[in-house]
Each structure stands twice: as structure tokens, then as C-alpha cells.
């Protein structure tokens, strides 16, 4: 479904932009991680690229935000520890972003957003964050 409601477009646009940030961060983080953690980062990078594509189909093509020319992580990613922290923070941020999408969409699109929120909250804990009652 293509949404024309302003609140839905705003929520979906925000989700795409945050997913773009996550993909950049996972790419940078992957360079500092090894073994299973590196594989996890690569796997999540692909998963979040898929999310971006699905969210892009929910709004008109001209409303889809272009990827930013450069990415500046909110906290510098300089080693494995900071890589894990950044991925945990971004995953937790995605919970609220996806909750906003769920609240403004319906049917399969809402179910998709709810599932994304759940996967992000789990991933945040797997990257070392403590669980939260309302992840942010």
C-alpha cells in the first residue's frame, strides 16, 4: 500500500533515514568486529537494506529520502567495543521509529513494522545493551 497520509509519510521517511544510518554504521562496525560478531553485523546490514527497500515501497518514489553523502555516527566507531555500542544504540532507536510506523500504517505494513521493532530490540540486547521497558 502507498500511504498519502502526512503522519504515515513522516514516520516511514524517518524509518528509511534511520535504516540508512544503520546500514552505514554496520558497514563501519563490521571492519572492527571478528568471527560471529562480524557475521552478525554483515547479516544485519543485509536485513536492514531489505527493510529500507520495503519501507520505500510504502510511499511515493519522490518522497523516498536519498541516502546522505556521508555518515557521521553519533558516537565514534573506533574499535570492537564502540562498534557494538553503536549497533546497540541504533537498534534501540529503531524500536521507537518502527513503533511510529506501526501506529500510522495498517495490515501487513503494520505487522512488518511491529516485527522490525521486535527484531531491533532483540538485536540491541545481543549487541550488549540492557533490555528496557520502552527501548530508546
Amino acid at each position: 500500500m502507498t500511504y498519502s497520509d502526512a503522519a504515515a509519510i513522516a514516520a516511514i521517511t524517518q524509518a528509511i533515514e534511520t535504516e540508512q544510518s544503520f546500514v552505514y554504521a554496520a558497514g563501519i562496525a563490521g571492519a572492527y568486529l571478528t568471527g560471529g560478531a562480524k557475521r552478525q553485523a554483515v547479516s544485519q546490514l543485509a536485513e536492514h537494506q531489505g527493510r529500507m527497500q520495503i519501507y520505500s515501497l510504502m510511499i511515493a518514489p519522490e518522497a523516498v529520502p536519498a541516502p546522505p553523502p556521508a555518515f557521521e555516527p553519533t558516537t565514534p566507531i573506533t574499535d570492537a567495543r564502540s562498534a557494538r555500542t553503536a549497533l546497540a544504540q541504533l537498534n534501540n532507536a529503531l524500536v521507537g521509529i518502527n513503533a511510529d510506523v506501526a501506529a500510522t500504517t495498517e495490515g501487513e505494513d503494520r505487522a512488518f513494522a511491529i516485527n522490525c521493532a521486535q527484531l531491533s530490540a532483540r538485536a540491541a540486547v545481543q549487541w550488549g545493551a540492557q533490555s528496557q521497558a520502552f527501548p530508546t
Binding site: 524500536v95 521507537g96 518502527n98 513503533a99 511510529d100 506501526a102 501506529a103 500510522t104 503494520r110 505487522a111 513494522a113 511491529i114 516485527n115 521493532a117 521486535q118 527484531l119 531491533s120 530490540a121 532483540r122 540491541a124 540486547v125 545481543q126 540492557q130 533490555s131 528496557q132 521497558a133 520502552f134 527501548p135
Partner: protein, 169 residues
């Protein structure tokens, strides 16, 4: 939000529910010629008691399950207290009163050993996350959808956290 739509009480329904059965014929006759439906066409809706919210009851039960596991295995106090506190926040968001939260009693785990007991909690968290997600998907209120999505996500995140505790127990 209310789970049951309120049925408007019409004068006729009120009258029909309060008169003795022997008077029905008289009332039926008295309605002849009016534009109201005949009395026999009126279905009297029994008053339904307010049903407690399924998600709220589940949250209260989850808190009890975590408290029961802490009683059985005090070494789990730290992690499980933190998770139980999150369920209290969820229950409050879903409308729990302080009295309801104070009245929660520990639910002992079925398992006598710590790892299977943690497995029970993991299964409960998974079921809770699924129920919250289904409820969020079915809700017609945007704020409820948003709140239930947050809660579903939080409960999903308890699964890897509890698995980690079980691995190290």
C-alpha cells in the same frame, strides 16, 4: 480503550426489561400503530461485566512468574528483578492500578532446577511478545498500537537476555 461497545438503552428496551411477563401482551398492543419495531423484535442485551484486558492480565501474571523464580532461585535476583520491573512498567502503561500491582503474588516455577525454570520464563516471554504483537496489529487506536509495539519489542528483548542468564547459570 473500552473493549466493548456500549449498547444504547432505549426507552422501549428499558421498559421491556422491567415489566412482568404477563404485561407483555398489553405493551405489544400499546405499540401498535407506532413507528417503533414490535416488542418481540427487540433483543434485550444482558449487561456484560467489564472484561479485564488480556494483555494486562498477562503482564501481571508475568510479574508473578518472575517473582516466583526469584523466590525459588535467589541467585537470579538481579536480572529477574530488572525484567519484572519492566513488566510493572508495561502493566502500568496498560492501565494497572497500584492496588493490582501490590496484589501480585509469586507464581512458583514448575521446574525444580534453574535452567528449566529459566526455559519456562523464556517461553512465557515469547508468548507474551506474540500476544502483544497480535494485539497491536488488531488495535484501532494509534496510541495503543504504538504502546503495544514498544511492549512487544521489550518482551522480545527479554528472550536473548534470559538465554544468556540460562547459559551462565
Amino acid at each position: 480503550m473500552p473493549r466493548h461497545a456500549h449498547h444504547p438503552v432505549t426507552r422501549r428496551a428499558l421498559l421491556a426489561s422491567s415489566v412482568p411477563l404477563g404485561a407483555l401482551g398489553l405493551i405489544t398492543l400499546s405499540s401498535c400503530g407506532s413507528d417503533e419495531p414490535p416488542l418481540e423484535a427487540i433483543k434485550i442485551q444482558p449487561t456484560e461485566p467489564e472484561q479485564p484486558d488480556e494483555n494486562l492480565l498477562d503482564e501481571l501474571s508475568l510479574i508473578g512468574a518472575h517473582l516466583g523464580a526469584i523466590d525459588a532461585f535467589p541467585e537470579l535476583l538481579g536480572t529477574l528483578t530488572a525484567i519484572a520491573d519492566q513488566h510493572r512498567a508495561h502493566a502500568s502503561e496498560l492501565g494497572a492500578t497500584p492496588e493490582q500491582l501490590d496484589a501480585i503474588t509469586p507464581i512458583p516455577p514448575a521446574a525444580a532446577r534453574i535452567k528449566p525454570a529459566l526455559g519456562e520464563l523464556i517461553a512465557r516471554e515469547r508468548a507474551a511478545a506474540e500476544l502483544r504483537a497480535e494485539s497491536a496489529n488488531a488495535s484501532t487506536d494509534a496510541e495503543t498500537v504504538r504502546a503495544l509495539t514498544f511492549i512487544a519489542a521489550s518482551e522480545s528483548s527479554h528472550i536473548p537476555e534470559l538465554r544468556d542468564v540460562r547459559r551462565n547459570a
